[in-house]
Symmetry: D2
Subunit: 185 residues, 4 copies
């Protein structure tokens, strides 16, 4: 008899983790806050937290993405939320797709406004990703802008500051319909 | 050709909406914050917001619950998130089950700590519910304590300050398994 | 050769110290935050902190006030800021006047909105009191509503939610003039 | 018979006014918050607010300082608090000294951590300056690091991140004594 695998949170840094540094006057990283946030969110199931790296996603190289993909593949978790900068989130999600196990539901999220700032979308986004990770079938997704997208069907619109589907509306409707007929109750 | 129905947020008040009132020195309601929060969360799809009532859920009567159930049934939305006090959330969810349409995914959520306070679980919970409302099949659910429960399989544990399944572990595993085989991609 | 006596902060609780308690859903006391605040304020001179009591000032008895007056008289400090509930702040200040040393500048302050809440006047008020404690001649004062009042010339206007002088304008001018000739240490 | 001149707040920007800008991901200026803060602080006497400029004090030129000095000299107020960046606060204070009226008590302040950030010293510092402006004799002062310094006897210690007296301890004592004999208006 085996125990339920934990809900896994991996942090790669990104805007969501940035905080004010009095010495430099800049918003940057000191340490990951994901462990504190999990407590604040009052999550009652078993949770595992891992800080993979703490960097701006514009500075991510192929080596960083390989490290992330290895961490995901090595994780015992079936439900994985990844905190990541928004600028190269899609690229990292596609890299993770190449290597993740087929029993893993992996949801990337981040924030347009750091969790440390007023008016932040951070905690809502982590919740959105956590809900998606527990309900969607295995695969790699991005949870941003109030929506959940498949990793290979989404792009960041930098002008509007939001994520949007790369698929036509009809395509989206078809997928939505398929989802509704599948169900689980 | 019809447009996508909006994502719907209904507020009934509850701890999540409470805010400090300098005149009385109490945490209570002045107005709903759900419209402001939707902007803060940077949700990009069409959203409808409705304030059904703003009360402590311990003060809810059958009449209040009937009003809520009527609002849900009258809503055009297929994906509905309901903000509600935690003390009678399960009771209201079961009441809504009796009357909601079979094309509606309805997710109740709330908070153990008001959104206006430090260390609040509010925004995470709204995100969790929003993720669930967009991915689960029609039905009525409760999203609290980091988990999503069917409305007829959950209770609030007041001693531990969290929501938990009323089903045995084996039952939970069976349901989880069914979910994994259903899939949608 | 003697060292400078420290700047002293005494806390008696009051609205300024209240914080949300998830277990009860009430704003009340857990522990004093004055030590954390002193760090946050980046005060560089020597500081001494003492928590005399943590209660709502409506619950203060003569015994409580005697304990406070004893703490003040026993303090080595010449510049003393006292955190106190607003409802009986004037009464306590007058009690301390009976017993304090003539080398002590004592400034009471508090808040209409707890420091833990948005839109709080708490930190401004502590700053106001700290500025007054370092510049006014010995005596007992109240720093609230953006002003500094002598303890025996001020009252709380509960209707307007602010502190105001009990003296007529002419009276105030006369006293101001007296202060001008008195100098300050 | 004349009315009391108002308490005056002038803002020049500086770290204290910086706020997160989602478009750029930087902490910078959008508009001054001093009017909102004055409401939050519940100041009950007449107050005048003027935004002189909103810039980083490292970018201040002689022209900027002249504009500030002109604003001060033109103000009807006798009690003036000036929000200013910390890096060149002393330089600006000395420039204002050359031109201010001898019925004006002028207190510069700012913050090491923006008011928009957690753990900010901003509101305490504004309170400290407001207390000093109402109690000290005419002159130009700097209120930072929990202390009030004469403008010509203070420097910013960038290594320690605080303001400190430029005078030896003995010198400080002598000046304190001089202040004692001078009285205050």
């Amino acid at each position: 008899m085996t125990s339920t695998p934990p809900l896994v949170f991996l942090s790669c840094g990104g805007t969501i983790e940035k905080i004010y540094q009095p010495n430099t006057g800049q918003l940057t990283f000191n340490e990951s806050h994901i462990s504190d946030w999990v407590k604040q969110f009052r999550i009652s199931q078993p949770v595992t937290v891992e800080v993979v790296m703490l960097i701006d996603s514009l500075e991510m190289t192929d080596t960083h993405r390989e490290a992330l993909a290895n961490s995901v593949a090595a994780s015992q978790g079936h439900q994985i939320v990844i905190l990541h900068g928004t600028d190269t989130m899609v690229e990292s999600a596609k890299r993770v797709m190449l290597q993740c196990r087929d029993d893993q539901t992996i949801v990337f999220t981040g924030a347009m406004v750091p969790a440390s700032q007023a008016q932040s979308d951070a905690f809502f986004n982590i919740g959105l990703a956590t809900g998606a990770a527990q309900t969607l079938p295995p695969g790699v997704y991005i949870a941003m802008s109030g929506q959940i997208f498949p990793a290979d069907g989404v792009q960041k619109n930098k002008t509007l500051g939001r994520f949007e589907s790369t698929e036509s509306d009809n395509e989206t409707l078809r997928i939505t319909k398929r989802k509704q007929t599948a169900g689980f109750r």
